[in-house]
Each structure stands twice: as C-alpha cells, then as structure tokens.
C-alpha cells in the first residue's frame, strides 16, 4: 500500500464473540487518519461487538487491531488508552460532576503520581472544551444540562484524551434532529483535525451523509464497504433490513437518502372494527 494516506486504524481478519457463538466473523476494516467511518447494520449484527473489540473491551478470538502500526492488544491498557478513546452508548457520569471535571477525566491515562496536572493536560482540556463549544458550560453540573449539551461534554472528554483514534457508539441515538446535526458536524471537525473516527450508527441517512466510509454488517460479517454514494443502494438496504426502499440523492452533495417504501396494508379476514 502506498503510504500517501496513513492508515489510522487497521482491523485484520478479526473474529470475536462468545464460546459457541461467534458474533464478529472475519472482519477487515481500514480507516485512514482524518476520515470518518460509520458501521451500520441491523440490531444484533455484531457492530457493537466489533467496536468493543477495537476498543479493547472485548478480547477477539483471532485477528489484529493496529493503530498507527501498533497492535493495540499487545499494548498495556494504559498505553492503548493513549491511542484509542471510546464514547460508550450511555455512559454513567460521576455524581455531581461539573463539565470541566468530566473533561479532566479524559486526561487520566496521561497522569500519574509525578505527573498530576501538566501544561499539556491543561491545554488538552481547554482545547476540547472550546472545540465542542462547551467552554462556557465548564463550571456547570453535567446533570443539569440538556441531552444535547451533555453529549457534547462527553465528546469533549473523549477529545481531551488526545488519541489518534476516536470510537463513538451511536453518538446521536438519543438526540433530536438539531443536536444530531450538531454532534455529527463536530465529528467531521474532529476528523478534519487529523483523527480517525469510527462510529456505530443506527441511522443510515446520517451515516451516509457524514461518513467517508460506510461498513455495512450483517450476521457478523462486513458485506459492503466503501464511500456512501457507491455503497448504499436498494439492494444493500434490502439485504440489511429486509426493507424495500428507494434511494434518492440529496440536493447539494448527492449523498444517498433512504426512503423506505410503505408496505401494503395487511388485511386479515375479520379484522375490521
């Protein structure tokens, strides 16, 4: 491979799962630095397990995960935390924590007994707060904020970790449209700053619009991968979700928009009221 593009994250023939129940089967995925990849697929297709295996939360049966050339499963947990940051789906926050307090926890992997609060820690926290537009909330308590604001604070914490790879597990699942756009724009900015972002996305339309690469998973395998406009089509939607859909092109960038066809109403004999 010509290294014009640094491979930020490289997953090679990864198998993961539980005894007698393989969940992720032979997955290959390469995401260059500065790009956003979205993993999509129906519930239970193995996309969360894949993300957990990449994040070192679930030990894979076989296969490797490399970040900038290092095999993350051969690193210590702390060293791995210097390379990969994860925002879980609904993380639990410490009781009564402030926004700045939460974001400071992102520096934990860089701290120790003799390195408790370096200038770099301070810069990283400030930068993360500013990048996510949460600087003016720094002194507020996290539990008093709205869902959208809270998600931006969590993102700030993950960014403060200053890792080349950022993993997001359904970062927009509980948000309204305005905040979905907010968060995904932010994700694009993070990638533009040179980081590799991999997110599990439920919403195919959002994935198609904001990701550079879509990896579609079904039954533990990646069945299609590539740029959204080349990958997301009627056949894929049918295969993934067993839904007939039309694919429209968004005005502007031409990214695919999935419009499910209404199923014909099922008429059962004797069902009329």
């Amino acid at each position: 491979m010509t290294s014009l593009m640094t491979p930020g994250l490289e997953v090679r023939s990864l198998h993961a799962g539980y005894p007698g129940r393989p969940v992720v089967k032979d997955v290959d995925l390469t995401v260059p630095a500065g790009r956003v990849a979205a993993i999509v697929g129906p519930n239970g297709c193995g996309k969360s397990t894949l993300l957990r295996a990449v994040a070192r939360l679930h030990r894979p049966g076989s296969g490797t995960v490399h970040v900038d050339g290092d095999d993350v499963w051969r690193l210590s947990r702390r060293q791995a935390a210097h390379r990969i940051a994860l925002l879980p789906q609904s993380p639990r926050a410490p009781e009564a924590v402030t926004v700045a307090g939460l974001v400071r926890y992102g520096r934990h992997p860089h701290q120790g007994l003799l390195r408790q609060w370096s200038r770099e820690d301070e810069d990283a926290v400030r930068e993360a707060l500013e990048a996510t537009g949460t600087a003016e909330l720094a002194g507020e308590r996290l539990d008093r904020l709205s869902g959208g604001q809270r998600q931006r604070c969590w993102l700030a914490m993950v960014l403060a970790q200053r890792t080349p790879v950022v993993l997001l597990d359904e970062p927009t699942s509980a948000l309204d449209l305005g905040h979905v756009v907010d968060v995904l724009e932010l994700v694009r900015e993070v990638a533009a700053a040179g980081r590799t972002v991999v997110m599990v996305q439920h919403d195919l339309a959002a994935a198609a619009r904001y990701a550079d690469t879509v990896a579609a998973m079904k039954d533990g395998r990646v069945i299609a991968t590539g740029a959204p406009r080349d990958t997301v089509d009627e056949a894929l939607v049918k295969e993934l979700y067993s839904v007939e859909a039309d694919i429209l092109r968004a005005p502007g960038d031409g990214s695919p928009v999935v419009v499910p066809r209404a199923r014909p109403p099922v008429t059962e004999p004797g069902a009329e009221l």
Binding site: R92, R115, Q161
Partner: protein, 349 residues
Amino acid sequence: MTDVTPPDSTPLRTGTLSWLFPRRSALAAAFLVPLVAVLVVVAVTASSTGMSLEQTVSGLLRAGDPGSIMIVWDLRLPRVFAGLMVGAALGVSGCLTQTLAGNRLATPDLVGVNEGATAAVVASAAGSATGMVGDWWLGPLGAVAAAVLVVLCAGGAGVAGHRLLVVGIGVSTFVGAVSDLVMSRQNDNTAGGVFLWAVGSLNGRDWSVGGPLLIALLFLLPLSLAAGHRLQLLRFDDDMAASLGVDLRRVRAAALALAVALAGVAVGVGGPIAFVALAAPILAQRLAGPTRVPVTGSALTGAALVTAADALGRVVAPVELPVGVVTSVLGGPFLLWVLFRSHRTTEKA
C-alpha cells in the same frame, strides 16, 4: 480563557513533573491534626479512677509514684495509641468501601469483617480453659477469613459492590449465628469477657498490640493513598474506565483487599467499634470537598473519633463505658442526620 484547573488545588510544576497541591484537603488536615493532638492530650489525662492532673503529668515524666507511672505508661498511653491506630484504620477502610460501593452507607462490616473477628475471638475463649479472650491476632485472622469467604461466595473480588454486600450480609448472619450458638454453651465468665470484646473496647490494650498495629498501618495507609487517584474512576462504569486505561476489576479487588486488611486489624484489636467507618469518611468528604477520595482525611477523622469516644467513655459514667458503646450512642443520631440530609438534598435537586 476558561480556567480548567481542578477546583481547590494549585498546580506545582517543574520540568515534566507536575503535582496538584490540594488546598482544601490541606486546610482540612491543618484543622484535623491539631484536633487529634488535643484529643490525645485529653485522652491521656482522662481518668476513670479520679487520678489528678498533677499525678498524670508526673507519671508521664516518670517522676511520680510507681502507681501513677504504671497507669500512664502501661495502661493509658498504649491504649490511646491503639485507639489512634484503630480509628485511622477504620476511617480509611470505610472510605474505601464507601467509594467501592458508590454508597455512603457501605461499611467494611458489610463484608463480614465484624462477625468473622467475633467468631474467632469466641472460638478462642470457648476453647481455652480459663475462658479468656486469646491472642490479639486471632481477631484480624477471623476478620480476613470471613471476608475471603464472602469474596469467594460472591464470585471474585472484582465484582461490582452491591453483589458483594448482599453476599456479605448473608455470610455475616450465618457466622454470627454460629458464634451465638457457641456462646450459648459457655459459662458466664467467658460470656462476660467476650461481651466486652464484642461491643468494642480498648480497655487493657497494651504495647504488644500497638507495635503490630503501627507496622500494619505504615504498610497499608501509603498503599491506600496511592490507590486514591485510581479510585476516582470507580465513579464511572467499567467500559468508560477501561477506555481511560484502568481495569476496574483490578482496582476493586485492590481496594477491597486494603479495606478488609485495615478493618480486620482494627476490629481484631478493638472489637467491632460501631459507626467510625461510617461517619469518618462522610465527615472527611465534607471537609475535603467532593472531587477527591478523602483517604487522609478519613484516617485523621477516624483517629479523632475513636480517641474522643474512648476518653469520653472513661469519664462520663461512674463505670467505664466501652468505646463501642459511646460511638454507638453518638452514631445512631449521626446516621439519622445523614439519611435526613441526603433526603433533603435529593428533594432540592
């Protein structure tokens, strides 16, 4: 520019090294250390037999009559010393279990430490011809054995706090019932000795206890302090902590081992002195602020509470009250206050 420095702290930096000076915790310590010192003086002079202050001072200076010298040097000082150590150990142990369980009411006795120590002491008293409570190390041994049993039944030390506590209650009840059964077959003499132990008393703790206690604390307290930074991550869930580079199962196991060792030593020596492990960390947290795990503060507060309660027990009634009775009498209302307060703050929020 946004100030992002941790609150109540001042960063000190040189080269690549950086240290956070905890202003508020330091202030709390500056208040607690003199308080403990004053309480020690009070405890050394507090007399259950009406010994005068002059007699105490001359005894302390080894200048008075042999009786006073003996009372001060062989009875009071070792007892006050043991009280300090026991209090500090209980305080830190409570701090660890409360952080571990994420619950301010979680104390080390919930993992069976008290009942285990009591069972060992009961067994030693029942087994001896004189009905005397046996060697000091029996209590710690029983406490640690019971905690290990609880951990094994719960499925490992890394499991989440609540599961450990539920199993702990079950095992404690069973071990306690066995102790009671053994006790019911003993004579009054044995029962009296064991009873005095089982309410928590420092009476008659001499230097032979102080030395091992000090060694145990010199070993366990620095480890607890070093764990403090990682303990903060117990406030997250396992996944988040793992992606911040910390294996919570390991942190939990280490914190639990430290808590059991500290409480085991304390309970083994002083008996199950109630409420110190509950109250000391809560008070210390109020002094040190919510952002830190108050290990040092809990040690100092625990030491202050036990020393004060022991001194009070010696002067307040015509017959000496065991320290455990004093802490229970004062601790009941304290517990109600904590519950009432947390209830009110939840309503406000």
